[in-house]
Amino acid sequence: MHLHLGGQLSWYDSQKRAQIEIHLREPIALRALLDQLGVPRAEIAIAALDGVAVEIENAIVHDEDRVDVYPPVGGGIFSAK
């Protein structure tokens, strides 16, 4: 899968990578994946799975997916509420 850490989120990657290729042997919860990478949940405002906005808590990621996550600064929060 391809993970894009938008904005300041790439600061949390040890190599400051914004684009990360990850091989997933089996599907994984997006939250667990981000926890493994050390990206704090509180800093993520928007997550998109293959270009479609998703709730981080519920999203499951497969090896063929593309995931974009963004922080709140300047951007909005994906919620119509």
Partner: protein, 632 residues
């Protein structure tokens, strides 16, 4: 005892070609400590009501903030303030760069410009030596030529030149000021005011040091060193250094609030062509800084391909990137960079220019203007050549550019029909590239701001929505609470009011929006420490918030005197209609909620239901003299 300032204001009467020095004392500075507060005080006291903005009687004030030139990151800003030719109200625009700090080092807190020179001139300030010099050979020239010529004439490459471009000479109502070619007082048409005075440039060279003015420079110098180390250790400042504002494009598109096709849409189908990854690959040549700022958020670009883009005028910020790009339906990054360069070269505000072109495109698509008016140009969304042609036509006031050079509100009035629905403006100033349908307090700021729609009246809702986020925690000492981005409620209004006071204080102190929390890495207590060290005053955070409130209240009083009312504190109708696409497709701002929020805002600010400050509020702020000016 030193309290952070030389205590000197330079007065320049361009009609009589005379200059004089005015001094102020510490008691005065405690109430009007620089920047927006100092300038608003002068404008309100000295400008007669209803003076036409481009008449010689208008007053243009260039004012440093209390901390401008202090040796720590982001303390670089100065204000340009006058009655605005775009809004006819309180006009203001800030810039960073190097000019403000240089003015400080020359020993001046502000310059007050009145009158009109009989022929083009420029002002030359070398410490306390001031001359009004002939600029007839500079008029009509490009900024790079003007800057080089002035530096060569005085044999000093360190002279900082603030100037207008051709758009300012041509009185385009959203003409900008530029310093060092790359830093802009973009908004509100301050370039047209300077042009109307036949003043092409203000060149400054100063040789004193900040510590010559500060009460105790050591804590400020320590802060400067600490922040320089912290830039890369804090995610927000690191991101500003890494990507700058162009990094916003992808996030806003994913959130469904990337203004697209004149704010009809919130997502752009060609966004991958214009977001940061493409910018870095196709355009970026270097990162640049303002004076003494370790953040280095400015981008430098160069293109030698389908378009030739000079690296002299700075790269597109987010605002011009979206305004001349997706908001015009354009996904050609090189063309956007070229249009940005033209705006900067001609001295046009990139935000109003992009928004005005998008307006014209929508008018064209609705047959309100035709190829007859455009001179044969098919002015449709996505037409790159048309967008570039219009930038040229506006700057030179050629063809339909003459109409569009007066801004969307005036153009819509003259075009008639439904054109007014396509004019995305408040009080005559075009919206920046932030859609309040996804962050509603930005809409409150657009509506309430006395200078018209502006995105820097307060930090945006998402920054303070999550109680566990770094941005919220940074701003928590201000007394705010974490509230969802789209909630429009009394408690959101309270948050907005506090954050507006904080941001307004930044405009008085001369600190960039990209410095303090919640937007970035400077903590609230560090700002308090810096003000204390600079002045020797035992100020508190509450004092600093009141400094901010006083400045916005002076601006509000100016507009009240000019006849502005509650009816002017509104939003374009489109924002009450649903977005056509993207993650927030179908979402609109509720008009009843918005109207209630405006009244709530007035009440919390201590204003009348007509939106005017009360005498009691003015007394609380120590400016009761204003009450008599506005009949409060």
């Amino acid at each position: 005892m030193k309290y952070g300032t030389s205590g000197k204001i330079l007065r320049v009467d361009l009609t009589t070609q005379t200059t004089r020095v005015e001094t102020f004392d510490e008691n005065f500075y405690r109430v009007y400590p620089g920047g927006k507060a100092l300038a608003a005080n002068i404008l309100l006291r000295e400008l007669a009501p209803h003076v036409e903005p481009l008449d010689p009687e208008n007053i243009l004030i260039l004012a440093n903030g209390l901390l401008t030139g202090a040796p720590f990151s982001t303390a670089t800003r100065f204000n340009a303030i006058a009655r605005s030719p775009l809004t006819r109200g309180f006009g203001e625009s800030e810039a960073g760069g190097f000019w403000g700090p240089e003015l400080k080092m020359a020993g001046w807190e502000a310059i007050v410009l009145t009158g009109r020179a009989a022929h083009p001139v420029y002002l030359w300030i070398h410490n306390d030596q001031v001359e009004i010099r002939d600029a007839r050979d500079l008029w009509g020239q490009e900024p790079e030529f003007v800057q080089n010529k002035i530096r060569a004439d005085h044999n000093d490459k360190l002279i900082r030149v603030l100037q207008i471009g051709i758009a300012g000479e041509n009185l385009v109502r959203y003409a900008s000021l530029t310093n060092d070619l790359r830093h802009f007082n973009g908004r509100n048409g301050m370039g047209a005011v300077m042009g109307s005075k036949n003043l092409r440039a203000v060149a400054v060279r100063g040789t004193t040091r900040y510590r010559d003015f500060a009460h105790d420079p050591r804590p400020i110098e320590e802060l400067g060193r600490a922040l320089a180390k912290k830039v890369k250790a804090h995610p927000q400042s690191w991101d500003l250094q890494d990507k700058g504002t162009p990094g916003l494009v992808g996030a806003l598109n994913a959130a469904g609030i990337l203004p697209t096709r004149n704010f009809r849409q919130g997502a752009f189908e060609h966004v991958d062509k214009v977001k940061w990854e493409a910018y870095e690959k196709e355009l970026l040549t270097a990162r640049r800084s303002c004076y003494a700022c370790a953040v280095r958020c400015k981008r430098e670009v160069g293109v030698n391909d389908r378009y030739q883009v000079s690296d002299a005028y700075g790269g597109p910020e987010y605002e011009t990137l979206d305004g001349l790009g997706p908001n015009c339906g354009i996904g050609d990054l090189q063309a956007i960079a070229k249009a940005n360069e033209l705006c900067n070269r001609y001295g046009l505000d990139g935000i109003s220019t992009g928004a005005t072109i998008a307006f014209a495109m929508e008018c064209f698509e609705h047959n309100l203007i035709t190829t007859h008016e455009t001179g044969g140009i098919e002015l449709r969304f996505g037409n790159v050549d048309a967008m570039l042609a219009l930038v040229e036509m506006i700057a030179h006031r050629r063809g339909i550019g003459d109409l569009l050079a007066d801004g969307t509100r005036r153009a819509a009035e003259r075009i008639g029909g439904d054109a007014r629905f396509f004019a995305m403006q408040v009080k005559g100033q075009e919206l920046p590239m932030h859609d309040p349908r996804g962050k509603v307090a930005v809409g409150l700021g657009y509506a309430i701001n006395d200078a018209g729609a502006d995105h820097l009246t307060a930090p945006h809702d998402p920054m303070v929505a999550n109680p566990d986020s770094i941005s919220f925690k940074g701003a928590q000492p201000l007394g705010i609470e974490a509230i969802p981005a789209r909630e429009l409620s009394a408690r959101k209004v309270r948050n907005y009011t506090i954050l507006e006071n904080w941001t307004s204080a930044e405009k008085v102190l001369g600190v960039c929006f990209f410095g303090p929390a919640p937007r970035s890495f400077i903590q609230v207590d560090e700002i308090v420490t810096a003000v204390r060290a600079a002045t020797g005053w035992d100020v508190t955070l509450a004092d600093i918030l009141q400094i901010g409130e006083r400045a916005t209240t002076l601006a509000r009083a100016f507009n009240t005197r000019e006849g502005f009312t509650r009816a002017d504190d509104t939003l374009p109708e489109r924002l009450f209609q649903p977005l056509e696409n993207g993650a927030l497709q179908g979402v609109a701002i509720s008009k009843p909620e918005f109207e209630n929020a405006i009244l709530e805002l007035y009440e919390q600010k201590g204003w009348t239901r007509a939106g005017a400050p009360t005498r009691a509020k003015l007394r609380d702020l120590g400016i009761e003299w204003v009450a008599d000016l506005i009949g409060a």
